[in-house]
Amino acid sequence: MSLNNLLSVKNLTVEFQTSEGIIRAVNNISFDIPQGKTIGIVGESGSGKSVTSLAVMGLLQKPAARIPSGEIYFNGQDLLKLNEQQMRAIRGNDISMIFQEPMTSLNPVFKVGEQISEALRVHKNLSKKEAWEKAVHLMNQVGIPNPSSSAHKYPHEMSGGQKQRVMIAMAISCDPKLLIADEPTTALDVTIQKQVLELLQKLQQEYKMSMMFITHDLGVIGDIADDVVVMYRSNVVEKNHAQTIFHSATHPYTKGLLACRPKLGANPRRLLTVSDFMTESGEEKIVPVERVQVFDKEQEVKSESQILLEVDQLVTQFPIKGGLFGRTVDHFKAVDGVSFKLKKGQTLGLVGESGCGKTTLGRSILRLVEPSAGKIIYDGKDITHVYHEELRQLRKKMQIIFQDPYSSLNPRMTITDILTEPLNIHKVGANKNERFDMARELIEKVGLKSNHMSRYPHEFSGGQRQRICIARALMLRPEFVICDESVSALDVSIQAQVLNLLLDLQQEFGLTYIFISHDLSVVNFIADEVGVMYAGKIIEMDKASRIYKNAKEEYTRSLLSAIPKGLARETRP
């Protein structure tokens, strides 16, 4: 336990008592955080990284969680030996924490200023007035505009980014020695994510504090961490300086993680996945050469096929109610005059920050949301004002895959029912058995086993559920599928598998995609052409590689620069 280590975790193990028996969330892990340094803990969901941070803060819910072994030394003191009283003196004072969901982490009924000053009054017992002034000062420090008036605002009156800044102000209010950040920027848009990361680094210098940064995004780790700890299934598989991890990772899982992250510069035909580097049980696998080769999609010549979908000056607006009787006072134009053409077998990427109207555009094309103006021509036929039977027939050709795998499957239907439902609706297939076979065939095509058919959605992981959604979308053999943020909710390694699956299916069924996402690197990988959307309009549309090399629009350039590169900085002096 070298002297300049602020925090040392020694063979920490954490177990949870659940109805299905004891689950080991953290298995005998050790790592140190030197004074003034930033440690990045990276791992996928379920790897135990959050549980570790909660163990350090002593926030694990007692009856369910148990720490059978291990010590956590902070300033030479083993936190696990402290009683609740002593731990409370440290929490929020010497060690403080910020969380992932800014939208719900602040108490909705208290003013922001009050919540920031609360820690001050508890630990530094400042008076109400002194604490308020310090809070305003802190808000200014974290870059919130005109802090003295903003302090009186309530959380719901602020944007996600501002709320995260409030959380940071709250955390550093008692100038802590260690700041734990559990996925602080995951829920934010990429431009705001960049500002928050820069803010954290600035504050770290000013307050000379160490930081434990937890995330699943290797790009973010590259930008911010000095040392990196890689966790996989509750174990630490590798820990080292950031430089060595990024350039000469030893553990296959780390290699897999680094590889499956689509990079803006590269243009591989398929993504490598963790399973290419490591077998299920963890041994290393030699990666076959042909999978690694990288080549530019450009060379692959796509046959000049005809236009499948044309959208002309499409407008979708929502009424804003106001006045005494809730009369429509104004309209919010989610989609404001969008036009583009899409060839058969091609993939159009739509990228933009939250609120730019990309999802509404997708839903309008499929007529799940009624567009207000403009024309949609599908396979040469104007389908903007088509209703009832004709619209239903259209459904067979056009399909959509949603974002949240947990909410897009009916929890009370078996997989067989979910998949055969579209066939029942459109009377495809002579009888139950034939429909069952068609479903079984597709389930295997998306990489699941046929004995999964009788199970219920809650028995599958996120990745498996998304595969079921894809299978359901393809049951009617559609020509055109919209993927609306279909991989955003998945872990990086699973994301790569699903993207590869989508590409294979496009190959096999000759599908045409519109791929909607806020993640430019994912869109760049999968899309032939990319449209950048801002405030309901497509401000720029071009070949993916050309957008990346020399984007014309200022907004696109700022988007590109905000993406964490994932190349490790040289270690600081």
């Binding site: 929490r91 929020g92 108490n107 208290f110 309530y154 719901h156 005494l324």
Partner: protein
């Protein structure tokens, strides 16, 4: 804010019309011919016709319905058939004893339930939590009639701690009359209150901002009282305010058995005497009360929760 209140008030009108319609259908159409009752023995046909005229029973149904609606606004309910008294005066006189019983009982039971539910939420999952919850549920699982009979016999008579029945309007003395029925009211209402408050508080305890508060080093107790309670108060206010109109009606059984001349007892007598105008008046009174307090609870809800804007 005022725009919101006006819109809510306007919305009240159709509800009031609906309530008057229900009351009209239930009472006017059902009450049948009161003349035989009012005139008693060997009344002549002529007398019956005059009385029907006097009571306005010959008016068209539409006019009778309008009378009901009018009385909802003017609170002029005419005369009771059984006692010939002026109904609105009867209500005024009956209100004081009713409220003497229902208001203190209601306040104590609400405050007590809040304390118990906070206590139970603090020790959630432990034995004491289960024990108290089962106790409260057991409390409400016994019929009010059984409580009245036993408590009156045991506490008032055998132990003599309370007055057996009756009512005395002066301040210090009415306590000994009202105490026992109030205790029964509390025992009966703690069950549902604790169950509702506990669910609301537990919903809040598992929110993210509680985790943030814990990370600030606040003690579980302060978190419960300052953060959780403040958020839980919003649905609790609505639940509590909605119950206030039922206080006017008071506790029918309690007032009858403890001879408290309140509105509940009056309603019960009206029922036994098929005195429809009084029952109609009480139905209208509590419905109007329910609508007004419904509006009040909405407004309190929007004041308490800053997230709700008055769009």
């Amino acid at each position: 804010m005022t725009k919101y209140i006006i819109r809510r008030l306007l919305y009240m009108i159709p509800v009031l019309l609906g309530v008057s319609l229900i009351i009209f259908v239930l009472f006017n159409l059902v009450s049948g011919d009161p003349t035989a009752v009012l005139l008693g023995k060997n009344a002549t046909a002529r007398q019956m016709a005059d009385l029907r005229e006097q009571l306005g029973l010959n008016k068209s149904l539409w006019l009778q319905y309008l009378d009901v609606v009018k009385s909802a606004f003017t609170f002029d309910f005419g005369h009771s058939w059984a006692t010939k008294q002026e109904i609105s005066k009867m209500i005024l006189q009956g209100a004081y004893p009713s409220l003497c019983l229902s208001v203190p009982a209601f306040v104590i039971s609400t405050v007590l339930s809040l304390f118990i539910s906070l206590f139970v939420a603090y020790y959630r999952g432990k034995g004491i939590d289960l024990f108290i919850r089962v106790l409260c549920i057991a409390g409400m699982s016994i019929s009010a009639l059984a409580y009245i009979l036993f408590f009156q016999w045991f506490f008032a008579f055998k132990l003599g701690w309370f007055e057996i029945s009756g009512f005395d309007p002066e301040f210090p003395h009415f306590i000994s009359y009202v105490a026992l029925p109030a205790i029964i009211w509390i025992v009966l209402s703690i069950g549902p209150d604790v169950r509702f408050f506990r669910t609301v508080i537990l919903d809040e305890i598992y929110q993210d901002y509680v985790r943030t508060a814990r990370s600030k080093g606040l003690s579980e107790f302060t978190i419960l009282l300052r953060h959780v309670l403040r958020n839980a108060l919003i649905p609790i206010i609505t639940y509590v305010v909605i119950q206030i109109p039922s206080l006017i009606l008071g506790a029918l059984l309690l007032e009858n058995f403890f001879s408290i001349p309140g509105l509940g007892g009056m309603t019960l007598n009206a029922l036994n005497a098929s005195d429809f105008p009084v029952m109609k008046a009480m139905a209208i009174l509590s419905s109007v009360g329910y609508i007004l307090f419904g509006l009040l609870s909405d407004i309190l809800y929007t004041i308490a929760d800053p997230r709700i804007k008055f769009n």
